[in-house]
């Protein structure tokens, strides 16, 4: 934590505000109307839920927003989507091959992310890119099941998994 | 033209569902079956959304949303049960 945070809003209040804004946005998207009464009801319900959950789940207090963080989040999203499409096509090559030739295995991947939400995003991204599936996450080590390790160096595979995703996530969530 | 393509898409999804059901029935272990169910539920969300498109009813999307919530919980519950051991 930087020294600037001493003057920042209290942990729980910050979590409340972000959770509230997120829930209101989701309410508006789900109900898809901007009628006054609907927005009012959504704001009230979201405020009640945010007040209830923000204190209990400390994950929401760790979120900070600044233009730089938003930019890095967009970078992460782009890298993730490219990876998703690329890896899905690679998966289709295996699935439509006349004979499935794979050599599954397990590698350990090290992460330097500390914040819970960043670690969750990293694990979910690795799980969503086919060819790798997170089996467990403990401390700074992830157990990842790999679809095909033929002729590949496992430590190289492990490094390639977090490449392009971990750095923006670290800058976004810390 | 667009209708024909939609019909082809629905037929493809249906074939995928058939293969998933085969795995559900044949799956040698419980994990295989639950994995098949997981795949089938996500496919069902797409099918419900497609039906909403064909019927032109916005509110059917609510059904897809709630189905997503409940099916996720079902898979999670079975996974936790398997983890706890026999």
């Amino acid at each position: 934590m930087s020294s600037r945070d001493v003057n920042a809003t209290p942990f729980a209040l910050r979590g409340f505000v972000w959770l509230w804004l997120l829930l209101v946005a989701i309410w508006l998207a789900v109900s898809s109307t901007f009628a006054v009464e609907s927005v009012l009801a959504g704001a009230l319900i979201s405020a009640a839920l945010a007040a209830f959950f923000a204190r209990r789940f400390d994950i929401w207090g760790g979120i900070r927003v600044s233009p730089g963080r938003v930019y890095h989040f967009l970078l992460y999203t782009g890298a993730f989507l490219r990876e998703l499409v690329h890896a899905n096509i690679a998966m289709m090559r295996y699935v439509y091959a006349p004979r499935i030739q794979i050599e599954p295995g397990i590698v350990t991947v090290k992460t330097r992310l500390k914040s819970p939400i960043g670690r969750l995003a990293l694990a979910n991204s690795i799980s969503l890119t086919p060819g790798s599936l997170v089996l467990d996450l403990e401390g700074d080590e992830m157990l990842v099941h790999c679809l095909d390790l033929r002729g590949a160096d496992p430590s190289e595979v492990a490094r390639g998994m977090t490449r392009g995703i971990e750095a923006p996530l670290e800058k976004t969530f810390g | 033209m667009a209708e024909t393509i939609l019909l082809a898409a629905a037929a493809l999804i249906f074939l995928g569902v058939v293969l998933g059901v085969l795995r559900l029935v044949l799956g040698p272990t419980a994990v295989d079956r639950v994995a098949a169910i997981d795949m089938l539920t996500i496919t069902s969300i797409s099918l419900i959304a497609l039906y909403a498109l064909v019927a032109g009813r916005f509110i059917y999307l609510d059904v897809a949303l709630v189905y997503g919530v409940l099916s996720f919980l079902a898979v999670l519950a079975v996974a936790r049960y398997l983890e706890r051991g026999p």
């Binding site: 508006l28 998207a29 898809s32 499409v85 899905n88 998966m91 289709m92 295996y94 699935v95 499935i100 599954p104 295995g105 397990i106 590698v107 694990a123 979910n124 969503l128 086919p130 599936l133 997170v134 089996l135 467990d136 157990l143 099941h145 390790l149 492990a158 | 667009a2 393509i5 939609l6 898409a9 999804i13 074939l15 995928g16 293969l19 998933g20 085969l22 795995r23 272990t29 994990v31 295989d32 639950v34 994995a35 098949a36 997981d38 795949m39 996500i42 496919t43 797409s46 959304a49 497609l50 916005f58 999307l61 949303l65 997503g68 898979v75 999670l76 996974a79 398997l82 983890e83 051991g85």
Partner: protein, 110 residues
């Protein structure tokens, strides 16, 4: 015109959904089945929802929420399932087949 593009996007999504089913059927063991089955569906489902959004732009916000929700929940549930399978394999020995390419330690190197 947008309807035609939308239906083509839906068809591409359907191809991914079908290959998820095919992968689910063809893959040799539980882990690879989870990999093939539950993740091609994520992209397929997203593409189908995008296609529907092209048909009805006014629906797109709600479709976005559904897609986001699937993006959130699908990796978590498949992770929980794979972890359960991994635990089961150690406990009852051979309940789930997994051709591990060596132990984790020796594969990942020092």
């Amino acid at each position: 015109m947008t309807e035609l593009i939308g239906s083509i996007v839906i068809l591409i999504g359907a191809v991914f959904l079908f290959s998820a089913g095919l992968g689910m059927f063809r893959m040799p063991d539980a882990f690879t089945r989870i990999q093939a089955g539950t993740k091609a569906t994520t992209l397929g489902n997203t593409l189908v929802l995008i296609g529907i959004a092209l048909y009805f732009p006014s629906w797109s916000l709600k479709l976005l929420i559904i897609a986001y929700f699937v993006f959130m929940t699908n990796p978590i549930s498949s992770h929980a399932l794979a972890r359960a399978a991994y635990g089961l394999q150690g406990r009852c020995g051979g309940g789930v087949r997994l051709e591990t390419a060596g132990t984790p330690d020796e594969r990942s190197g020092p």
